[in-house]
């Protein structure tokens, strides 16, 4: 039997360590690869190349670093211009070891050299197949790909679900566009998809609402939750005495001191608010949603370019012993960036705001508290009927 794309990827490349500054390393040691699904702006290209250039400082002279993206909304000519500008400011010894590959058809290779073209062909086969299987696209699908959900679709859907769970009125299309930060065509496409599944109803005043809990789409979203939410997990590096309840107290204290309205509690803490009969002893971890609509790091939470993750912002103030981890099971704190226009946070008279119930449900399922999540939905809807 022919090897699967996953197997072929494993044969030719190995995943890099968290702090390496790149994602894959070719097993022959000639290439390190930084991979991004999509280049959304010139800034993506800058950031990717600078991180790779830094990583090259720790590599032998023979190693090349390649920035690979599945697609780009930035035009090829603009990418060529930016490539020229970036490599002009880098030391020649570093610049000549960098390359950019956009896996379009045909691939865009910079510099256009046989070695880079050969690598592009190999990666196009391996990464695009894997991407289709595992990842989401950020915006509207190309023709013929309408079965693949997009991040924007889920943003629209999550806004509708949050309103439904919070007993709020049906949303007009304009409100939906604003809250989800999506264009009119994107919202219309998303609603069409939900209509096909009979998950929404349109009302006479051009507003829409969910008919009932959208189990099918929710299951789909859960399966894609990692790509959809891009959680940032932290472990207590001081070891044995990790105490989520104590961490929560400190987080609330720091939030009060700092005044951080863009930060809300999710997970078990929020669930206990939404469901007063929430059935769980203790708090296994702390979930926090951070509103990062502008696309910029907020509050010092996200500092992706700091490989040591010595967090100097809110996280560092809450506990300087927190370190990023990729292992979900050991996380004591999980930060979820929220990238839509409206945070939908639920304000309280005292204490930090709460993440909306949809984010909270995702947190509970991530914690494998499936029964409690279902009970929370039932409780919220029962409240509505009363």
């Amino acid at each position: 039997m022919a090897p699967s794309p996953d197997e072929r990827l494993t044969v030719h490349f190995e995943p890099a360590s968290r702090d390496a500054g790149y994602d894959l390393r070719s097993r022959d040691g000639r290439f390190v690869v930084g991979h991004k699904n999509s280049v959304a702006s010139a800034r993506d290209l800058y950031a990717g190349l600078i991180i790779l250039a830094t990583a090259l400082g720790h590599e032998g002279e023979h190693v090349r670093a390649v920035f690979v993206a599945g697609r780009s909304v930035v035009s090829p000519s603009r990418i060529r211009e930016e490539w020229q500008r970036i490599t002009n400011v880098l030391r020649p010894a570093v610049a000549r070891r960098l390359a950019v590959v956009i896996l379009s058809d045909p691939p865009l290779c910079l510099p256009d050299e046989p070695e880079v073209r050969a690598l592009a062909e190999e990666l196009r086969l391996l990464l695009t197949t894997n991407e289709r299987k595992h990842n989401l696209r950020e915006d509207h699908p190309a023709h013929g790909e309408s079965r693949v959900p997009t991040i924007k679709f889920f943003e629209v859907w999550k806004v509708l679900l949050a309103h439904w769970l919070l007993q709020q009125e049906a949303l007009r299309i304009g409100e939906l566009m604003r809250e989800a930060n999506c264009s009119h065509p994107t919202v219309i496409r998303a609603l069409q998809r939900m209509e096909e599944r009979r998950e929404i109803r349109r009302l006479s005043n051009r507003s829409v609402e969910l008919v009932e809990f959208p189990h099918e789409t929710f299951g789909e979203a859960l399966a894609l939750a990692e790509s959809l939410r891009t959680p940032i997990r932290f472990v207590d590096a001081a070891g044995a005495n990790g105490d989520p309840a104590a961490l929560l107290r400190r987080l609330e204290r720091v939030a009060e001191q700092e005044g951080t309205p863009k930060m809300a509690l999710g997970g078990v803490s929020a669930a206990r608010h939404y469901d007063p009969e929430f059935d769980l002893e203790g708090t296994p971890r702390i979930d926090v949603s951070v509103h990062t609509f502008a696309g910029e790091p907020e509050l010092g939470f996200v500092n992706q370019l700091d490989p040591d993750a010595r967090w100097v912002g809110v996280v560092g103030k809450v506990d300087p012993a927190l370190r990023r981890t990729s292992r979900a099971s050991e996380a004591i704190l999980v930060v979820h960036p929220l990238r839509r226009r409206e945070s939908l946070f639920v304000r309280r008279d005292r204490g930090m705001p709460l993440a909306d119930p949809v984010e909270t449900l995702f947190d509970l399922h991530d914690l494998r508290l499936h029964d409690q999540a279902e009970a929370m939905v039932r409780r919220l809807r029962a409240e509505k009927r009363r």
Binding site: D236, A238, G239, A240, N241, D243, A246, D319, P320, A321
Partner: protein, 296 residues
């Protein structure tokens, strides 16, 4: 390899062997005191340590030290191999510290330390005394005065040093990583005294956990004012310097990790990264605020 000792049974043994009248004049300090305090968190298992440090008070109580040494020697305690008493002519710096094995056992040894007087400025001062025909030296460590604050009481009735004050005393003892090596290698490795003592600060903080260490700040302030009134402010400002230096030195932190995992933290799976994180917490939670308090 260092054998493990059960801190509770060592406390009972010391209580039994010391004259009742002397019980109130001794305080158990060092790793044994910490192991006893955290015995529940350590799972009531034996701890890798070799010495039971006994601090005798009040300051300058040479007669009491002599009483204790005589009583123990008469009770069958024997000097450890390299504790060879000197004569009246032996210079003080060449005299041994009293280090005695309990009768019939070499699992651990007891070591006598004096309480430093308030006037002592040197980190350590030495006095000499005679017991059963041999001469010994009694060291007094300046910063161990702090353990006089907030003494803890063991169930057998002996006093022992609180972990919080031992941590501060150890931190103050080493504002830099300079200084001498330990007299003996630790499990075959030559270690600086500073790395060992500062490592103990981290070990104690690790065992205490953050909830407990956060309560240390007012105790530290009180202790500094009580015992070093004139020097309290400069000491408070520089208290974290040694820990900061330790975290900046990969080699010394590795040594500190080595001593703690071959001692108090043995068998707990504590990593160097764990200790680093604990140290960073201490700087933010305690040493930084302490320096600020004494800067105002």
């Amino acid at each position: 390899m260092i054998a493990g000792i059960d801190p509770e049974s060592v406390f009972r043994r010391i209580h039994q062997d010391l004259p009742v009248g002397l019980h109130t004049h001794v305080t158990i300090i060092g790793s044994l005191a910490a192991a006893y305090h955290f015995r529940a968190r350590l799972g009531f298992r034996p701890v890798k340590t070799k010495d039971a440090d006994l601090m005798v008070q009040p300051a300058g109580a040479l007669e009491r030290c002599r009483d204790i040494a005589v009583r123990l020697l008469d009770g069958g305690w024997t000097p450890i191999a390299d504790c060879i008493p000197g004569s009246v002519d032996t210079p003080t710096e060449d005299l041994p510290v009293v280090r005695l094995h309990p009768p019939g056992s070499q699992l651990y040894f007891l070591e006598l330390t004096g309480l430093a007087p308030a006037t002592q400025q040197d980190g350590v001062a030495w006095e000499r005394f005679e017991a059963r025909g041999g001469w010994y030296a009694l060291p007094s460590f300046r910063y161990l005065r702090l353990v006089g604050s907030r003494l803890e009481r063991a169930t057998v009735g002996l006093n022992y040093a609180s972990p919080s004050m031992m941590a501060l005393a150890n931190a103050l003892s080493h504002p830099t990583l300079d200084g001498q090596l330990m007299s003996k290698p630790v499990e075959g490795r030559k270690i600086k005294r500073a790395a060992k003592d500062l490592g103990r600060v981290l070990a104690i903080a690790y065992l205490a956990g953050r909830e407990e260490t956060e309560e240390w700040l007012p105790r530290w302030q009180d202790g500094l004012w009580t015992h070093f009134s004139d020097d309290a402010a400069p000491l408070g400002r520089r208290a974290g310097a040694g820990i900061r230096a330790l975290l900046e030195s990969r080699a010394e932190l590795a040594d500190a990790h080595w001593t703690t995992t071959n001692g108090l933290l043995g068998g707990l799976g504590v990593t160097e990264e764990n200790l680093r994180a604990v140290g960073e917490r201490l700087l933010v939670d305690l040493f930084g605020p302490l320096a600020q308090e004494f800067s105002q």
